[in-house]
């Protein structure tokens, strides 16, 4: 039996749909772990990202730091924390939050930074308070990128919780680590399929959300042609006189 038909059979086997360690149970656990991770990461990263994007302060520290966080091997971090803190959800949770922070942070500050300085400037000049500029101008315009950051963090978190199941944990990664020592391809592949499906469904939902949160006016202004612009001279502002500094 090739691994794929085996995996399908494994997935369809009613025995795997009830009881302890069943697919619904592992799936629920996995989603729960991911949700907790993301909520914590967002609580930390979004305000920080907005602050950096809005003020431009701290960028020089935070950008290389998040780069370094990306280099941190999650498996190592999970294990280190597990040796430190013992069994339970907390060690991998910390490691996964650390993993989720960089993309969310980057999305938030890149989003705010991507707002045209002219727009921001004009908003201030017309009498928006600093808070007003942030909440009514920058955040709405940054929302697609903010959601983009959360989206990419979510995908990473979904994938990495499976790796973290090296520790005694639930979640879909269980199927991988349980199948691995006995080379139960059906179980491992079945589990992988579940993870991938979960990731794709979530990704699809995010794609919809991202479209939904993109301000209509921004869509209207977007260049539709994906090819390289060959008419760029036309789109460029008419610098009839001297160029703006």
């Amino acid at each position: 039996m090739n691994p794929y038909t085996g995996a399908i059979a494994w997935l369809l086997d009613p025995a795997h749909w009830t009881g302890d360690g069943s697919i619904p149970q592992r799936l629920t656990e996995h989603i729960l772990y991911c949700l907790i991770t993301l909520v914590i990461a967002m609580i930390i990263a979004i305000p920080a990202g907005l602050y950096i994007g809005h003020t431009g302060r701290g960028r020089a520290i935070v950008v290389p730091f998040t780069g370094a966080l990306r280099a941190l091997p999650t498996l190592g971090l999970v294990i280190l924390l597990a040796l430190w803190l013992g069994l339970g959800l907390i060690p991998p949770l910390i490691a996964l939050v650390v993993l989720a922070i960089p993309p969310i942070l980057a999305g938030a500050y890149a989003g705010v930074e991507s707002v045209d300085p002219v727009t921001r400037d004009a908003a201030t000049a017309t009498g928006f308070t600093a808070w007003g500029v942030l909440t009514r101008v920058e955040v709405p315009l940054a929302l697609p990128l903010i959601v983009g950051g959360i989206r990419s963090a979510t995908l990473q978190v979904i994938a990495t919780w499976t790796v973290a199941a090296y520790l005694p944990l639930g979640g879909l990664g269980r199927f991988l680590y349980d199948g691995l020592p006995v080379r139960n391809y059906a179980e491992m592949l079945g589990g992988s399929i579940l993870v991938i499906l979960l990731a794709l469904v979530v990704d699809g939902l995010f794609a919809l959300t991202q479209r939904f949160v993109t301000p209509k006016g921004v869509i209207a202004g977007r260049v539709r042609d994906v090819r390289t612009p060959t008419r760029s001279t036309q789109r460029k502002e008419r610098t009839w006189f001297a160029p703006e500094a």
Partner: protein
Amino acid sequence: MIEFRAVTKRFPDGTLAVTDLDLIIPPHQVTVFVGSSGSGKTTILRMINRMVDPTSGSVLIDDVDIATLEPVALRRSIGYVMQNSGLLPHRTVIDNIATVPLLDGVKRAEAHKRAYELMDVVGLERSLATRYPAQLSGGQQQRVGVARGLAADPNILLMDEPFGAVDPLVRAELQVELQRLQRELGKTVVFVTHDIDEAFLIGDQVVLFKPGGILAQAGPPAELLQHPADDFVTSFIDAGRPRSILR
């Protein structure tokens, strides 16, 4: 009346953008700042609504030092129009025009009513009200910008190269329109441009700056033309004038 008293501005990076400026901008007239790129026009204009604060010296509006005023409130009381309009891309035309009244807590329906009237004033079709800025032409965007500047019925209107980014034909049209508006409304207008022709066309008073925000000459157009203060003024005016031997 707007008054600059010994105003100097040095940016944190050391750039000296405005040097010891004394200037009086008379009310209910159009004062045009002109000068080449980087001569400090924008910086000086922005001192009037405290987008920039002077390093030393003071700016007074109707004899009140604006350093004592709350910036946000001050800005809402002064109209500001800029090149590329600076409209909020995620708000419709009508909401953009009504920005300041809405910020001031005016009811939506009322703010929109006034905004529709302003669309008439600046010559915009009311049918454009629900479009987004990106769906308008450059000239239309500038009109929206002017309407927004007028929405709070300010006494002072600051315009920073408002027509710098539009087609020459449209530009000529907008210049005419601005002159009509000004006849009707009689605001204190401070207008920044690169274009000496434009300055002479619409300015009651023209202020020419040298690099470093140094005042070269200020006065009615005729005075600058007939009695240029120095060679800089002469050469600046000449560079902007028609050079074709045919005229």
